[in-house]
């Protein structure tokens, strides 16, 4: 698990992040100067959380408490991922290194870490984090500077790149592992319920995602326990060969 392998594995994430954070930069440039927009990306490295934070900043009525609560619920899934990742890292991943590299726990970096066959080492994780961090920061910077040069139709199209990457992570696993397909279907049904059932519509998006993931994963674990790491790793051989 070398640094260079991490950098190589992080390249597609970095490119994707550049595209997504570009649209964040554009959104932020509407009321913040480019250094201030870029600083948000450099200190947070989250997608949904930053977009929500930007909305709260833009809203004259947005309070600091609201910012804390919204950030907490939207980003609570990182705690879930951090717990999960803690089961996957090598023994050499000590407390100091965990404190330094915890910032690198994002949806995609987490997902790529989890599909590795070997335990994740600190140097590999650092390599994996490098290009996504650069892409996320530089994309925001470029987007904020470009500001309103590009028409909305182009920025909308770039914004969907994030979801494209999520789909690229989930679908290959669903293809080879039927229980994952069922768990994903439950998560989607639950997510749609939060959106369209009136009684549930008061729940914030971040909290809805957590509830959906918990329910679907608990059902998956109860009905289709995974015997060992092999069954989940087998699926990703195609992905790793790239």
């Amino acid at each position: 698990m070398k640094f260079t392998k991490g950098v190589k594995d992080g390249l597609p994430i970095g490119i994707g992040y550049f595209a997504v954070s570009f649209s964040f930069g554009i959104a932020g440039s509407k009321f913040l100067t480019w250094p201030l927009v870029t600083l948000i990306s450099m200190t947070n490295v989250t997608s949904a959380g930053q977009f929500a934070g930007l909305q709260i900043m833009a809203d004259a009525a947005g309070t600091f408490v609201e910012m804390a609560i919204a950030t907490f619920f939207i980003n609570l899934r990182y705690s879930l991922m951090a717990i999960s990742l803690s089961q996957k890292v090598a023994p050499s991943f000590g407390t100091g290194k965990r404190l330094l590299l915890a910032m690198g726990i994002t949806d995609e970096i987490y997902a790529v870490s989890m599909i590795q066959k070997e335990p994740v080492t600190p140097i590999y994780f650092l390599g994996l984090f490098t290009l996504p961090y650069a892409g996320w920061s530089l994309g925001t910077l470029t987007g904020a500077v470009c500001g309103e040069i590009l028409p909305a139709i182009v920025t909308n199209a770039l914004g969907v790149a994030l979801y494209g990457m999520f789909i690229a992570i989930v679908v290959p696993q669903m293809k080879v592992h039927k229980p994952t397909m069922i768990a994903v279907a439950i998560a989607i049904a639950c997510s749609l319920a939060f959106k369209f059932v009136p009684a549930l519509s008061g729940v914030t998006v971040g909290f809805a995602i957590i509830i959906c993931a918990l329910i679907a994963s608990l059902i998956g674990a109860a009905l289709f326990p995974i015997k060992d790491d092999e069954s989940l790793d087998a699926k990703n051989e195609a992905g790793e060969a790239k």
């Binding site: 009321f31 959380g49 950030t71 705690s79 909308n156 789909i167």
Partner: protein, 105 residues
């Protein structure tokens, strides 16, 4: 919003986000023994990403139609073996195409 308020907002966001990542990561040093919880955690990335994508993708573009087309196109591209960047590119091009056609109509 003045500069001072901006920096308080920024600090709140950054600190809350960092603690959410670092605290569980640092506290959990040993491997979980329970097969149930190990299975649960194995399902988490996929269920989280699925719940984040649907239905949000329908509302991320100009029209629900272009979002829906992007979802279908991305799933098909992924089934045919496209990687992260390939699938993301297919989704972007689909939205650009569908929204472009809708503008012309």
């Amino acid at each position: 919003m003045n500069l001072k308020q901006y920096f308080i907002y920024l600090a709140v966001m950054a600190v809350v986000t960092y603690l959410l990542r670092a605290v569980p990561f640092v506290l959990l040093k040993s491997k979980l023994k329970s097969p149930f919880w190990r299975s649960f955690l194995a399902y988490v990335p996929y269920t989280v990403l699925a719940a984040m994508t649907v239905p949000a993708i329908f509302y991320s573009t100009d029209s629900k139609l272009s979002g829906a087309c992007a979802l279908v196109a991305a799933v098909v591209a992924s089934l045919f073996g496209a990687g992260l960047v390939g699938v993301a590119a297919v989704a972007c091009v689909t939205v650009l195409g569908v929204d472009g056609i809708m503008l012309l109509l």
